[in-house]
Amino acid sequence: MEEPLIFEVGHLDVTGVDLDEPEGFEPQLGTHARADELDLPGLAEPEAMRHYVRLSRNNYAIDAGLYPLGSCTMKHNPRLNEKMARLPGFSDIHPLQPLSTVKGGVELIDELAHWLMVMTGTSAVAMSPKAGAHGELCGMMAIKAAHTAAGRDPKIVLVPESAHGTNPATAALLGYKVVSIDAKDDGTVDFDGLKATIAEHEGNIAGIMLTNPNTCGLFERDIIEIAEAIHAADAYFYCDGANFNAIVGKARPGDLGVDAMHINLHKTFSTPHGGGGPGSGPVVLSDRLAPFAPLPFLRKGENGPELVETTAEVEDGEKPFGRMTAFHGQMGMYVRALSYMLSHGSDGMRQASEDAVLNANYVRVGLQDLMTLPFGERPCMHEVLFDDSFLKDTGVTTLDFAKAMIDEGYHPMTMYFPLVVHGAMLIEPTESESRASLDLFVATMRDLVMSAKRGETERFSGAPYLSPRRRLDETLAARKPVLKWTAPEPADVTPVAAE
């Protein structure tokens, strides 16, 4: 059944809330009262319920099936976390009510910060960034602030070709020039090339933005040497923490020489993805960057953690570079992440990393004879990268292949990313999948590959066939953007004159 838009079913004289008209007051709006009536149709509660329930049914979800999106880490979202985040003591407190009335809230942030620092081997964490990319921005601002404080003004940030788009975008936002770093044939950073680049731009490098494990699903073996080379060039090592979930409890970024790393709480610590957000991106900082952490930050006080909100409260040695956002960050996400950490414990989180890596390798060995691994049959970390060589001459593209997965009941894997391989297909099963689930997925993928190789192109080119919508015309959408609903013109009802 097709579900109309609320504007097509709602009515201006209907409302799904019961409120009474206030009485006995003189409006004090000055000259600012609204002149025109707002045109927002309302729905009675039963209609609203049905509308959104029906809409939801057009969505794929982790709770309904495996979600093999490489680098996106679609793992199980425990409902305990949702329950905890809704405790009124967390959900119903205001960021600006007296600090004496939110001590537990501040303690929770402090406790989460402690877990993050211990797990990453760092000495500070900027909690407030609202998403991974916001965390990147925060980390790079701390780096810029540190350079400025040292009287330096380097202009270049090094970013590998395989990086997430947010990395170069973030660097550019701060006025940095992005210099790309090449990868070796094995999918990892070309350390010799990197050294040469560093030498070439001596004194003008602000830092490097590196993802580790990288977006090919590989751990950068030279990571410590890279960090040392960067540090030797008076630059900082920003690590994109998108893949931290592969190594929690197995290695600490701080021990690898990382100066700043954001942590996507949803990827590593199971806060729900929510169809696109809200996220949360705390940034852990090395000793060298710790003083520059933005407002607000926590300071150890005699009676527990203290929240420092303004520059007026700053003490010696604290040099916050500014503020990333109003208030204190994504409390709702903090509660969920801490709930997850407490549940797993340090032992459970280590096990989760191991299971994530094991599951990815299990998928790899299940598919590597039929699909193609760009970097050979070596172990991967938490995700396995295939390229599209195996589709050569089949007439089936990576996109077609992915869309055909939908008809089999699966969300497609990440496609065309990272850019370093042709027709990339990046599969991340996560630790949340059972062996039976992986077996079924592998069997399905094998069936699809063999079907493509047999030349059953229609199964792919027209896919998906069984989804709520067939393939959508994205070009049309971009060429003539329709970004909101407007009432259709009334049909022309000019009466035709008789005779």
Binding site: P27, E111, T310, T325, F327, G348, P379, L472
Partner: protein, 448 residues
């Protein structure tokens, strides 16, 4: 561990299938000296009951808004959200779905984003809205950057009525990006002379109405002056419910409208997650940050929705992107859309009138207290009072009496003597006559 489906038997079998002897072989790329061979020194796994107890103990140290007379606003507001909203956003298909990059199986998310964009555009009286920002403050920072792209100028003029933390966000970002900012002094009464600050260098003027102090501001003359100098007017709000009652910024000439949407559908959550609303004129859409959802058709010709104009975005444009943003505030904007669908014009109007009525009644009660002056002439559900002594201490004293009275301006603008006695007080539909009487009574005692 309850979240991990693999049993030890599974693990052993799977390692064998993978062809390694131990799990550590799969981690052998980690340099040996950095490998953790021991479990980190953090608590071990815990059952649900233990986790609930631990977190409930922390939660119990806080005072929830619903449990006391509550008048705290200043950028985040306590409203009643229908139970339906929280129920629906917890549907698995919304909660645990990814960004809708595969539109064939995410029409649920895409359609509500389209509804959301339409609602925001109508609320603000603007041409187009995006699929939400992190929150109002970061949205304001992005709006300034967008204005710089549109105007190819770099100076932002910030009103003294802008929320101090919003100002800090803009200033920080501008400083880092080497852009210019002119920040006007705090302006509790809405009487600053911002027009004289606008010149040909000006990229944008950022004005909040209702202001941080609650004052309603006439945006039209500012828009006019800005446009004379080819600058944009960025209109900011922190209380979206006000748009149910007051003239929308789009009708006053704003070029970009940005604000906090938390009040509709979303709880206080100690400051986040919230949902930033962002709208602009059609002609600027390609300079807009953030996700956009657009209408199109599928292969069968059926109406459908997709994320569109993504050539603005970082995952396509990388260092040429309009912003580094790759998240919207998904579930929070779903909550916003559901709540607003329930309200409709009718409900939002009533809600806004109740808010205003409660603020007017509160103002009368407070203004009657000796030594208390209300500074605002025109306001919505919030206003600023000048107390006969430092507001911070008064607020603490009232908190001890179980009343959360508002935000002392000094909390956000410390060390400014002229602001020391100011208290920003908000009143919404949750406040009762008893709440107001309790505040007025207690305030009299504290000031006595």
């Amino acid at each position: 561990m309850r979240y991990l489906p693999l049993s030890d038997t599974d693990r052993a079998d799977m390692l064998a299938r993978v062809g390694v002897d131990s799990i550590d072989e799969l981690f052998s790329d980690i340099p040996e000296k950095a490998r953790l061979n021991e479990v980190l020194d953090l608590p071990r796994r815990a059952g649900e009951l233990q986790v609930e107890r631990h977190l409930s103990n922390l939660a119990a140290k806080n005072v929830p808004a619903s449990t006391v007379p509550f008048f705290v606003g200043a950028g985040a507001y306590k409203h009643h959200v229908p139970a339906t909203v929280d129920h629906l956003i917890q549907r698995s298909e919304f909660l645990t779905s990814y960004t809708p990059y595969q539109p064939e199986i995410t029409q649920g998310t895409l359609q509500y984003l389209f509804e959301f964009q339409t609602q925001v555009a109508r609320l603000t009286a603007m041409d187009v809205a995006n699929a939400s920002m992190y929150d109002g403050s970061t949205g304001t920072g992005e709006a300034v950057l967008m204005a710089h792209r549109v105007t190819k100028k770099k100076k932002a003029v910030l009103s003294g009525g802008l929320h101090p933390q919003y100002r800090a966000v803009v200033e920080g970002l501008s400083e880092m990006a080497n852009d210019d900012v002119v920040s006007l002094p705090a302006d509790p009464t809405g009487t600053e002379d911002i027009l004289s600050q606008i010149d040909d260098e000006t990229s944008c003027v950022v004005v909040q109405s209702p202001s941080f102090y609650g004052q309603l501001i006439d945006l039209k003359p500012i828009a006019e002056k800005a446009h004379q100098h080819k600058a944009l007017l960025i209109a900011v709000f922190t209380e979206v419910v006000s748009l149910g009652l007051i003239e929308p910024p789009g009708a006053q000439g704003a070029d970009i409208v940005v604000g906090e949407g938390q009040s509709i559908g979303n709880g206080l959550n100690f400051g986040g997650p919230y949902v930033g609303l962002f709208a602009t004129k059609q002609k600027y859409v390609r300079q807009m940050p953030g996700r956009l959802c657009g209408e199109t058709v599928d292969a069968d010709g059926k109406r459908g929705f997709v994320l569109t104009l993504s050539t603005r975005e970082q995952h396509i444009r990388r260092d040429k992107a309009t912003s580094n943003i790759c998240t919207n505030s998904g579930l929070c904007c779903l909550a916003f859309t559901i709540h607003l669908s329930l309200l409709g014009s009718k409900g939002l109007g009533q809600m806004a009138r109740i808010n205003h009525a409660n603020a007017v009644k509160l103002k009368q009660e407070l203004a009657a207290i000796s030594g208390v002056d209300v500074l605002n002439s025109a306001y919505f559900n919030e206003f600023t009072v000048k107390l006969p002594k430092a507001a911070a201490g008064v607020v603490e004293a009232l908190a001890e009496k179980g009343i959360l009275a508002g935000v002392p301006v000094s909390r956000l603008e410390p060390g400014k003597a002229e602001l020391e006695d100011l208290l920003v007080v908000a009143s919404t539909e949750v406040n009762t006559d008893e709440d107001r009487a309790a505040l007025a009574g207690a305030l009299k005692e504290v000031l006595a």
